[in-house]
Symmetry: C2
Subunit: 450 residues, 2 copies
Amino acid sequence: MAILDPETVFNQIQVALAQDDINRAIQILESLRGPDQADVFNELDEDDKIALLPKLDPSTSADILEDLEDEEAADLMRSISSDVAIRILDEMEPDEAADLLGDIDRQQAETILAGLENPEEVRPLLLHPDDSAGGLMTSEFLALRRRMTAAEALQAIRRWQPESENVQYLFVIDGQDSLVGVVSLRQLIVAAPHSILADVMNPDVITVQAGADQEECAQIMARYDLTALPVVNGNRRLIGVITIDDVIDVIEEETTEDIQRFGGAQPLDAPYLSTRISTVFRKRVGWLMLLLVTGSLTGTVMRWFEDELSAVVALSFFIPLLVGTGGNAGSQTTSTIIRALAVGEIDLGDALHSIWHELRVGLLLGLTMAVIAYLRAVTWGSGQGLALAVSLAIFTIVVWANGLGAFLPILAARLKIDPTTVSGPVMSTLVDATGLFIYFMIAKLILGLW
Amino acid sequence: MAILDPETVFNQIQVALAQDDINRAIQILESLRGPDQADVFNELDEDDKIALLPKLDPSTSADILEDLEDEEAADLMRSISSDVAIRILDEMEPDEAADLLGDIDRQQAETILAGLENPEEVRPLLLHPDDSAGGLMTSEFLALRRRMTAAEALQAIRRWQPESENVQYLFVIDGQDSLVGVVSLRQLIVAAPHSILADVMNPDVITVQAGADQEECAQIMARYDLTALPVVNGNRRLIGVITIDDVIDVIEEETTEDIQRFGGAQPLDAPYLSTRISTVFRKRVGWLMLLLVTGSLTGTVMRWFEDELSAVVALSFFIPLLVGTGGNAGSQTTSTIIRALAVGEIDLGDALHSIWHELRVGLLLGLTMAVIAYLRAVTWGSGQGLALAVSLAIFTIVVWANGLGAFLPILAARLKIDPTTVSGPVMSTLVDATGLFIYFMIAKLILGLW
């Protein structure tokens, strides 16, 4: 099947709905793949969604709800009857069902839970925070006894009917239900039918506790190339499994948060267009106010030099250029260093090395900028003295911005603060005040103003 | 096995090496997991690395070289004999072997390739660019005939000895070797032994061409929750498979590039500390120079208002605060919009909606900033007129920065330019010049300067 143009499909469904041919609309929708169904479905009017959902095959509805944004899915759940909701949730993977139930009100969730085929698979998942290993895991896994033979294990797999197709690893437990090994489907197939699991399995299983942060889980899975990560409790009893598809979503989510922090805002926690104006405002105003107040420091620095500014107004023409270049050089450095820290290319032991690296880059960049700034000043008809002061200042500011841009994220990491908090805007603001101070001091010296 | 503290292990190995007990060093190293082996190994002196590599089990050396950075691995390859290199590469997955051979000189690569057990698995992979589907795929896959029975397929799997354990899907081909379906190990196990693959398989296979961009492959796999993505040629012949572990590395790499672009630099393409100063310089100087030149526009704007600045020096005190706040508000917006575009939360059809969203956020933020700026100006002892001008200017600048911050990335996306290029530094520079113009015009009006 080719990947269809969603626009075309959407139009076909709209036509069918306009003709009240709901069966045709369903037929078109069900011919698509899960994520595409969700995309097309999401574009429909609210009324059409509520009308279609109970009429679709429950497993189709389950796929759609899984792929919709949390908020949107919860809204739909509130609009359909509990009977329909139960039929749909029975088709969902338990972790997705739990996420959805966690987003609707408690009473409706309890009613639905009571009607499910396997409520015991879903209920324990409701206890864990969304961003922990426990919130990410599914309770749908197959645990086999270590004394089982490979043939018996294959038989158990035949009897097992999981909702998810992505099953590649099975877990091996001992008499106390403690996790003691992992075995892949391929190992089971290749093994002699009578060999026992304890001899076939890999006893070196990497596990996490239910409370582990989701970002830590993602890092472990990426590092060790795992497609399934078992979650255990304090007694090493297997309570769930995190699968790679959920982790890719986590990586995407964490990247979004990092990039929003880079821009000097708190993460939105929800898709952009479905976030209310007031929420976006709240997430941004704090930083903006703080940066405005600290930024007014720069104004204070300038007030110290009021006499010089009155005497040589041309001094002020270079202010935006100097603080802009300083801020840009600083942003280049922080973004590189923060990312290198995040992916583990540098660690705290490399601190001095990294700062030295940046200072040398800063020397080269500073020299280049100094030459350009000198030429720019001269072509503006500024005097030799002012041109010299500007070019010396820009050199010093760039070196300083590079050094600070390397030092601050590393300091933040050492103090266990998220290094992204000292990114772009914070750096610019810091470099502004100090940079202007450097500029005026150099100008005073060179122009002999004092 | 617990995750050992790498520092401790490293020290133990250093002690063993100092006592010339190379076997002990090897024993300690081989007791670790692959990625941990690579980390510890990487900390050793160059001489120790070259001494250890030929003495390790070739499969251990293969794991280590796969997990080292490309540059570092290539350096080591150049220092060991071709015989040793051949033994190691024979243990590698073909895609990793090809990546490594692509990084060393042609003649050595040819010698090694000639000595490999299965050169035909590696050679075709050398033809594709590193960042394409062809460069990412492995040629190690199992293609089964559609007329085979499930039992025969399982038999074929037993005979097959891939280097990688991560095998979950098998591909089904017709008489012309065209890809016609995919079947999971679990489906084969569950199927009746005599059922033929054509009836068991899923005929809806998502594929990519060898030339597809690696980012596109990552997006497809993330969207459709795939753990393996088949690569086909123009005749739909299967030529390779991309596995999820490689894609996670791609996502990490692409995020690094985006974040570096966000900081206003070209991506480094290599780990930070192993990038030469001159390279880092080259990647940053272009943007910095461009931004300095466009930033000097701001100076030009100020020169137009030279008379006003001479008359009221206090006007200049607010320049850093105004341009800083405008730049920060712009960065907050661009980072949100760029990310929303990247993950598909908004598309070009949402352009007007997004800009309108931002303008309303900008109104709220602008009002708040105006109040704070007014108070700040008054406490600095500026006159009522100046305080009013500053607060009106900051309001206008914030709304303008938000609008521009939403408009530019969307415009870039529409023009098929990477939206990250209009991130932080570019926005700041743009907002600086226009913001100051707005400020001076308002000040002129209110202070009746003209």
